[in-house]
Symmetry: D2
């Protein structure tokens, strides 16, 4: 399978290198506003540097990886599927649910595969947990808890154009909650505070937040987020059901443990999302290729992207108004 | 110090035996509606069996332990402090906050110590965590999480007269959240479902619940409860602050671990609250005696009991109405 | 059952209090060279202070707890069984295997129960591990590992008359290895060094030691000992068999864990043997009473005491000569 | 740096792919008795297939990776250094210490770098532990423990020509013990049994073994090996010193943990050495390249290979004779 990559920044580089490392795929062309970034990646992957239009027009290219800034995603998805390409796009499709709906309509008309980059579903531990959950190991699901803490807050300038914590950061956890709940949330209640960086609050956003959601049958999801965790990138899930609990968590930097008069000490957990989710990014690409080849639906789908966005919008509104917000995801 | 015990049921028996095991205290008299229960406890502690009135009238008795049914607590507290006794009373003071307020007013007039049995504050691990939190080890508090799952649901008949999960079970977690937050909640949002036992739902209660609370400065508390946990009595707390995290948890039945083709297996956690909190009950009594002796205020106080009750009432209302409920604890 | 206690030092006090705390047993009399120690314990247990001869002559006493210095054990066991008492004696019976053999012969002639205080067999975790081992959970036993580290070395004066590390400290581990192996060792190889305190070396003893033993069928036991462990009293066992591994270990002081930039930190493990083995001492007494009542053999028996002593003697010799020492325990 | 690879079997393939994945190195040529194996690896690395002589004669090649059968190692090392190449050779140099000595003499005459593939030194956790040990975190070293258990025994045919467990398997642990002890062993005592597979015993080898070693200053090393571990590839080290303990261990297949009525269950540990030590093989190659570039001595050196072999020989003799064997590594 031959890939074109749009966007050679941090995450684009990861996907590009993962494509190049596969025996059954090739990175053919790379586009980026920065010629330097594009050239650097092309040099180590055997790809050539090209413009976006040229890449979409290249009939030898089967699939497009979209890793450009968020506000270009919907347009590029539409252009790529119209050009007959399979598309993998980093989350989110767009910050506006209506724009996402229009985009998905056009994707549907072309019948081309679209997969959205909710990478955490492909973390080997989270994926194994979900499989065991589906196999009934915890029984009927009662409470899903998702904890997600970034090591440190982004620059305030980034925050200002990010759509806010619920859309920028917690969107991953909304997708994870849906992935685990196996039933759509019908209500979202959110609390948010700016406790880490007062400037984030002045910019109108929060850096510490918690959400409660409920499904029609009464299942409950808890999410908590923070833009700071001194001990590493904290990514945990825990699901409680009628037969027991399944949980999965962090990986320490090494397995070394010391024991002294000060007690027992283990390393911080892996600090960087590219390290923490390295295996997830590889498995995600594998799944995209498998879906394209097998003619099966790519998951997480564009609709999964839309639903996570709707939940993030609802949480944003709930945190603003102080009231729970009803959502009706099935209707979308 | 000489003690009279009102109520020789399961929890009364624990407190009575703990008094008897101390070198600096004696259990003098035991009252119970069941003569059998009273006699059995009296026999192993060297106490005599007596009626409530006789115990309160006994000038040789310094302190009263109230372990009778909830609906007698407020009356007995008032009678005991009026008789000049120091009082330790199991939670809750009453299911009606107004009744608690009247009771506390009378206690205040007598100046006698009143301590409420929120035993979990005295769990050695939870108490150590709180001390380290106060010493600043986690920095400024951001998120407090409390998980509390009973091994199995109580009989529906009990549920019906319990005041509901939020007042009967989660009240402990409201107290724990206040203990850890070090700032009063101003808002409570609650979700509840009957997922464990449909008859609990038919009785108008829930068995699975989650709460979010916020303080004036923006600190967030998460609580989750279930009436069922197949793997033991699940009691965990986790506090996230500007410098890091402090958490404390369960104790496995033994330290034995097996490793076979099926993986690594550890024991369930301690299943029974009297075992899980045995050390807490002893430390609680120690604290009560120290407060009585030292003339210092007994903590958790009657006011702590009232505040937990108000939060439980707010959660009950929130779960019923689907809306967050504002609370103003400082005014009480 | 009515008990007389000989020796009211640290360990005697533990046993005396455990007897007094039982509903089915009473501590009747206490003897100690120090009248103060005897009186203090008598005061809190309801016992009276008496001389050894008077206690042995008291027909109302069923059982004797021997907690006096080692060099009195064998004489007191003989005197007690001759007086018709059941006997529980702290390890070791004697530092001289020949003296133990004579003592056991006399015990056998009286037919009275004799149990030796290898308390670790009664630790709830170690006992559960042994039961699961016997039930076949790890399959056929291949390697038994025992780790035992004291928090800090004893005074050199104590070391000088202790019989040496292998007889004073590792004797517990020889018993534990036999308990777990379920087959007698036939060979002992020992290494010892004085790395903790050079004065221990000058006194002719070691403070750091390791032993390898082999059974006739080829099972292997590893033991390591140190007189120092900064992180608490380190007591671990691990058994490897054809189906997998069973291990059991230490208990941390609390369950509190912190996570900061410095990593994850848990408490030291319980530091004091009386705390670490508190439950074991209670279960040990329970087993002694059950054996006396049920007419079953008390275990660990006097023969278990002899065998552990023989292994300790062999290790002492091996460390001295640098050669493995053959032992033939079945012949004793 | 341009590499030639001799031997494209399981381990050769790993090293070849690791070279090819680096930006600063290239795999130029591959030789293997099986043309299929050589071609398959050449195809995915951009190398060409060639004979050994041609590779050694190729002036454009800087370094040779020797991954051929053991009995060819010494000859190939000599040929490669004589051809002016830097050499990385899989352990062992040879099963005969005298042959190793001759080989190292010739290497020394050429002055070319020689590094031996004791990959475990490069495991990120073991390497970090060693660095922290050297930095004094555990104080003065007292006891080093190494546990190494293979998931399942090799074919008896392999065992027969392997040199025996001590030379084939425990040689890694002898190197690890030396790496951690920071002082040479002067005595080796070994016990071995055939408990896993009786045919291994009939072939004159053992499958379950334990070793004790002592250094001149009295430090003690314990090693235990088994050819079977149902729960995965068990690789643990633990070092006890005057200030405390440092340990490092296994990695579970995922972080998923279940909690049910049966207790808490975690995954088996990584089962396959190529997965368990994947990062170690990459770091090992990095170290070899750095040494070649920097003109520094490659470690582990040929002398490290010789010393591990001498300890393995001593253990083999000890297990055979039942006596400890003195070794004098510094003289080599």
């Amino acid at each position: 399978m031959r890939f074109g990559l749009l966007g050679a920044g941090r995450i684009g580089r990861i996907h590009g290198l993962n494509v190049a490392a596969r025996a059954d795929a090739a990175l053919v062309a790379v586009a980026d506003a920065s010629n330097e970034a594009a050239s650097a990646l092309a040099a180590v992957t055997g790809a050539h540097v090209a413009g976006i239009d040229a890449i979409l027009a290249d009939a030898s290219i089967d699939a497009i990886l979209i890793c450009t800034p968020t506000d270009t995603h919907a347009d590029l998805i539409e252009a790529a599927v119209s050009a007959g390409k399979a598309v993998f796009c980093e989350k989110p499709v767009d910050l506006d649910a209506q724009r996402i709906r229009r985009c998905l309509k056009q994707v549907a008309q072309t019948g081309k595969p679209l997969m959205i980059g909710f990478n955490r579903r492909f973390d080997p531990s989270f994926a194994a947990l979900e499989r065991r959950l589906r196999a009934g190991e915890a029984g009927a699901i009662e409470i899903v808890s998702v904890i997600s803490r970034d090591p440190s807050p982004p620059p305030v300038a980034y925050v200002a154009r990010s759509g806010g914590l619920f859309r920028d950061m917690m969107i991953h956890d909304f997708d994870m909650a849906r992935f685990l709940l196996a039933e759509e949330p019908v209500e979202v209640f959110a609390l948010g505070s700016a406790l880490v960086d007062p400037e984030i609050g002045q910019a109108g956003d929060v850096d510490t937040a918690a959400v409660l959601m409920k499904t029609a049958s009464g299942r409950i999801a808890q999410i908590s987020n923070s833009r700071r965790a001194t001990y590493g990138y904290d990514q945990r899930i825990e699901v409680h059901g009628s037969k027991g609990m399944l949980r999965a968590g962090n990986i320490h930097e090494t397995t070394v443990e010391s024991a002294t008069v000060a007690g027992f000490r283990a390393d911080p957990v892996q600090n960087f999302f590219l390290e923490r989710y390295a295996a997830a990014y590889r498995a995600e690409l594998e799944a995209f290729i498998a879906a394209c080849r097998g003619g099966t639906a790519a998951r997480p789908s564009g609709l999964d992207g839309l639903k996570a966005q709707i939940l993030a919008d609802a949480a944003t509104e709930s945190a603003r108004t102080g009231k729970p917000v009803a959502v009706a995801l099935e209707a979308n």
